[in-house]
């Protein structure tokens, strides 16, 4: 009976087929991207956003420390002075230009670490695709979060004497 497979071989064949058969009734591990998206981990580093305070003022004070920390030289910041008639951030200074070149960015998160006001945060968005290189440069408008419900858009007109500090007072500067 030399034409018949050996007994052991047949066993293994069915073992394999059994696994296949079994998995047909298991819950699939793949998701139907892009219709279905898997949640990212809490420390995931996706595209940056620029945060706002609840009153709508921008957290960014235009200090350029993110740009200094950036190993890929992806960030460009230019700052200007706040006035009470045209206030963008609580301090003296705000970023009048804020650009991140997402083609250069290596998503290391150093900018986040360097930020003294927790203005720049690498969020969950990883869906970055561009049809030209200029589109990869995210401007301040694209990075800023929308104005919170109870807030007002920037620039705001505020009464004098409220924002007297150079940088907004932080709860725990030792952190």
């Amino acid at each position: 009976m030399a034409f018949l497979p050996e007994r052991a071989r047949v066993d293994e064949l069915f073992k394999g087929l059994w696994i296949t058969f079994k998995s047909m009734f298991e819950k699939p591990v793949t998701v139907q991207y892009p219709e279905v998206k898997r949640p990212v981990r809490t420390r995931f580093r996706g595209r940056h956003v620029l945060n706002r305070y609840e009153n709508g003022l921008e957290k960014c004070i235009g200090c350029s420390l993110c740009a200094a920390a950036c190993p890929a030289d992806a960030i460009f910041v230019e700052s200007s002075e706040n006035t009470d008639d045209e206030r963008y951030s609580p301090g003296e200074r705000y970023a009048s230009t804020y650009e991140i070149n997402m083609l250069r960015c290596i998503y290391c998160g150093y900018c986040e670490d360097a930020c003294p006001t927790e203005a720049i945060v690498l969020e969950d968005n990883y869906e970055l695709s561009f049809t030209d290189r200029f589109e990869a440069i995210y401007t301040k408008e694209r990075l800023l979060l929308p104005v919170p419900e109870e807030g007002k858009p920037t620039p705001q007109e505020v009464p004098p004497g409220i924002f007297t500090r150079s940088v907004p007072v932080m709860a725990d500067p030792t952190d």
Binding site: I61, G62, C63, S64, L65, A67, A68, F76, E78, S79, S80, E81, G91, E92, R93, S96, T97, E99, P116, T117, T164, R165, S166, V167, P173, T174
Partner: protein, 809 residues
């Protein structure tokens, strides 16, 4: 000679002259003792206590006076029981200084902790952040943690404008008094002072307008924290983002070395722009300082009003055209003009440009002229300062004469250095018809009437006793003719002493422009006849703006070409206007009033289609069949140096040579000498005077002065309303309204009152509005009219006050 003293600092031996402070002795051997209040250019005060060191001295036996030895034979050292401040203790023989011991480290830590008790955490937005001595020294010597409670920080007022140019942040101030001491000791404008005591100590300005000084910007350089910042640079970049390029200030004949900090800017459409001007150390020229005009009046280069395209007159209107068309037309006209060509330049142009313009003019057989209200550059070339001169070397036994010149207004840094020389004991003779600030330091004041400048020089007592003699002559109250006579009289004064060519001896012209001396050296002379010219070629000068009466004369010419940065009043009359590059956009050399040739470098990209003047001349040359070097100034320079007397042997390489300078400044040492820049780009070369001057009697031309009438005389101000300063908006609040100064007596005679706005017409010319300010110090019979302030005046003139017209206007 001073005695030398040997001491040991941190185990290293150093020998320094007696009287040297421990902190300086340490710096000389590369040991950094941290300082905040100490500055090597100022007297020590020991206010901040940061420079604590442990100082030990050899013990001497009380009876014999012998040094007591240890058992091993080394001298026994007695250390003090408290730490000393290294900035107030002079060195002594055998001294042992310890700066690294735990005791010292702990002392410094506590000082830093104390300084930071109420220092805000503004570093992220502070303009000083990144080049801040407090930041750096806290990192190096700070405790890392504070025992003080953060919430206990006292908040003071922030953003206090001390003046129009300088902002004060009271919280950041550590009360080192560097700014106050600078204003008092170095520039003698004691406009800053401390107010209140203890924690409430505050810097205030006691002048009206606030911080009324030509030197205010320097206080921001030496401020060891971000308490003083300039309005110009405010928040525009972080220091580490800036690139720097060395340059030479283009505003006055001192030739201060500067660094322009640049950055690519989105606001300016992605162009590289100048963000600030900082001093560059050159102990032979400007030491560590620059005046506010040099620091803030660079905005002419980025002005929107700059010409960017060649213009050509079509149907009576200037219309943009191509370089090709403009140059072809110019070359055509020049070829036909021949002898009828007149090339007119000013001292604003660099040497290379002047050289090419002269070669072009000579090649075509034309004439050339220098637009200047001062003469005597040829004499300065003969009897100017000897090579190797340094005003900082002048002191006891030396003499300085300053005549017809308000030195602080005309050449501020020379004022500062002459003042310092007088303080070191130099004899200072100031001759001027009215009091000037320099007179505070004069050993002798000569007061003369306007028009008697030459007599005033003759009244200077014989100076044969003096070891060295430097004579400055300016343009106070004189026109071109008198200037020539005055220069000759001054040259006689220098030559009579017989030390022409020796260092620290010679004549210095306080010229109206940065390179007027270079223009003279290259062969341009004032005293040309505009009326004879058929074709006028004007580069870097605005004769019509200075004297509207010249408009008609210029219009008589068949063809006028103007090469300029802006559409000046002269350019508006031109047939062709060629856009030139600003000094910040190209390379070149300037020759200062001390005849130091210095090199400047390109800082920003050229504006529009603007081309450098030397290249335009070369391109015109190519079209008329003259082979001139163009493209790069470094190609022109060798020819220039070969053909210009006195410039032989100069090369760009030699101009770029540097040597060690004291005090040490620069990035790693900014806590010590301030944020000014270390000179790595060249100190320049001082030319030797040619000599050969023979003392001769001065032919004098007195001004005509009808009896009983008041004469208008021109004076020069630092802040005028000229085309190079007015594009800088930051300075606008500091620029005075057009005014004239008269004696109260004369004011009565003219039927004016103090502060009255009147129309003034010089020599029956156009009427312009000015404010009349009465001043008792003005000699009776004269009205002082500032140059470049909207009133055309170039020599003592008759004038008329038109009260009615001013009211109408």
């Amino acid at each position: 000679m001073t005695n030398e003293v040997t001491l040991t600092i941190d185990g290293k031996q150093v020998t320094v002259p007696e009287g040297t402070l421990v902190v300086d002795a340490a710096k000389k051997i590369g040991i950094d003792i941290p300082v905040f209040c100490y500055h090597p250019k100022m007297e020590p005060v020991g206010m901040c206590r940061m420079c604590l060191v442990d100082i030990g001295r050899p013990v001497r036996d009380r009876d014999s006076g012998e040094i007591v030895l240890e058992e091993d034979g080394s001298p026994k050292i007695q250390f003090g029981w408290k730490l000393d401040t290294a900035c107030t203790v002079p060195v002594s023989e055998g001294m042992v200084v310890e700066g690294m011991t735990e005791k010292v480290q702990q002392g410094r830590q506590e000082i830093v902790e104390l300084l930071l008790t109420s220092h805000p955490l503004d570093c992220p937005i502070c303009d000083k952040g990144g080049e801040c001595p407090l930041q750096n020294l806290t990192m190096a010597h700070g405790p890392g943690e504070s025992r003080f409670i953060y919430d206990d920080k006292i908040n003071f007022e922030k953003n206090v404008p001390l003046g129009d140019l300088i902002w004060l942040d009271r919280e950041r101030c550590i009360q080192c008094a560097r700014c106050i001491r600078f204003q008092e000791e170095i520039v003698d404008d004691a406009v800053l002072e401390f107010f209140n005591r203890g924690r409430a100590t505050d810097i205030i300005t006691n002048s009206e307008p606030g911080f009324d000084s030509y030197w205010s910007g320097n206080t921001t350089d030496i401020c060891p924290v971000g308490a003083l910042t300039t309005a110009d640079f405010r928040f525009s970049a972080r220091p580490w983002e800036l690139k720097n390029a060395a340059s030479i200030c283009s505003h006055c004949p001192v030739g201060c070395n500067m660094t322009y900090n640049t950055r690519r800017e989105a606001k300016s459409g992605g162009d590289i722009v100048i963000k600030r001007a900082m001093p560059l150390q050159n102990e032979w020229v400007n030491e560590l300082w620059i005046c506010d005009k040099g620091r803030f009046a660079y905005h002419f280069s980025d002005s929107e009003a700059r010409l960017t395209q060649p213009l050509i007159r079509k149907d009576g209107k200037l219309t943009p055209t191509s370089w090709e068309e403009a140059l072809a037309l110019v070359a055509d006209q020049f070829k036909n003009a021949g002898e009828g060509l007149l090339t007119l330049v000013s001292g604003r142009l660099p040497n290379e440009d002047l050289f090419n313009l002269r070669k072009l003019t000579e090649g075509l057989g034309g004439k050339s002229g220098l637009h200047s209200y001062m003469a005597g550059g040829d004499l300065v070339a003969q009897v100017g300062l000897g090579a190797g001169s340094n005003l900082a070397d002048l002191g006891e036994g030396d003499a300085i004469v300053v005549i017809a010149c308000d030195l602080e207004e005309e050449a501020p840094v020379w004022w500062l250095r002459v003042k310092a020389a007088a303080e070191r004991g130099a004899k200072l003779i100031v001759a001027n018809p009215r009091p000037t600030k320099l007179e505070r330091y004069a050993t002798e004041i000569i007061r003369y009437a306007y028009g008697e400048e030459v007599e005033a020089v003759e009244r200077v007592a014989p100076l044969s006793e003096a070891d060295n003699l430097v004579v400055f002559f300016g343009s106070e109250g004189i026109g071109l003719e008198t200037s020539e006579a005055l220069a000759q009289a001054c040259a006689n004064l220098v030559a009579e002493l017989g030390r022409v060519g020796q260092p620290n001896n010679g004549l210095v012209g306080v010229w109206p422009r940065a390179n007027t001396q270079g223009a003279w050296d290259i062969g341009f002379r004032p005293g040309f006849d505009l009326a004879e010219a058929k074709v006028v070629y004007i580069a870097g000068a605005d004769p019509v703006g200075d004297d509207p009466a010249l408009a008609e004369t210029i219009m008589q010419a068949d063809f006028v070409v103007v090469q300029e940065l802006f559409l000046t009043e002269t350019a508006e009359l031109a047939d062709v206007v060629l856009p030139a590059q600003a000094q910040t956009e190209r390379e070149g050399t300037f020759t200062s009033g001390e005849r130091r040739v210095q090199r400047f470098y390109p800082v920003v990209q050229p504006r529009g289609e603007a081309r450098p003047d030397f290249d335009i001349a070369a391109q015109i040359g190519a079209k008329v069949g003259l082979a001139l070097k163009g493209r790069f100034p470094s190609l022109v320079n060798p020819e220039l140096c070969a053909e210009t007397p006195g410039y032989e042997g100069l090369t760009y390489q030699r101009l770029a040579e540097v040597s060690d300078q004291w005090p040490i400044v620069g990035r790693g040492d900014l806590y010590y000498g301030g944020t000014g820049y270390e000179n790595k780009q060249g100190l320049g070369v001082q030319l030797a005077p040619s000599g050969g001057y023979k003392v001769s009697k001065v032919s004098r031309q007195d001004i005509e002065k009808p009896d009983g009438e008041v004469i208008a005389v021109p004076i020069t101000l630092l802040y005028d309303r000229g085309g190079m300063i007015s594009p800088s908006e930051v300075l606008h609040p500091r620029l005075p309204e057009p005014f004239i100064l008269v004696n109260p007596q004369d004011s009565k005679l003219l039927k004016t009152t103090d502060g009255m706005v009147v129309g003034i017409s010089i020599n029956d010319g156009e009427t312009s509005n000015v404010v009349v300010w009465e001043d008792e110090r003005i000699p009776a019979g004269t009205a002082l009219v500032p140059r470049s302030m909207g009133v055309a005046i170039n020599r003592p003139s008759t004038f008329e006050i038109r009260i009615a017209e001013a009211a109408a206007a």
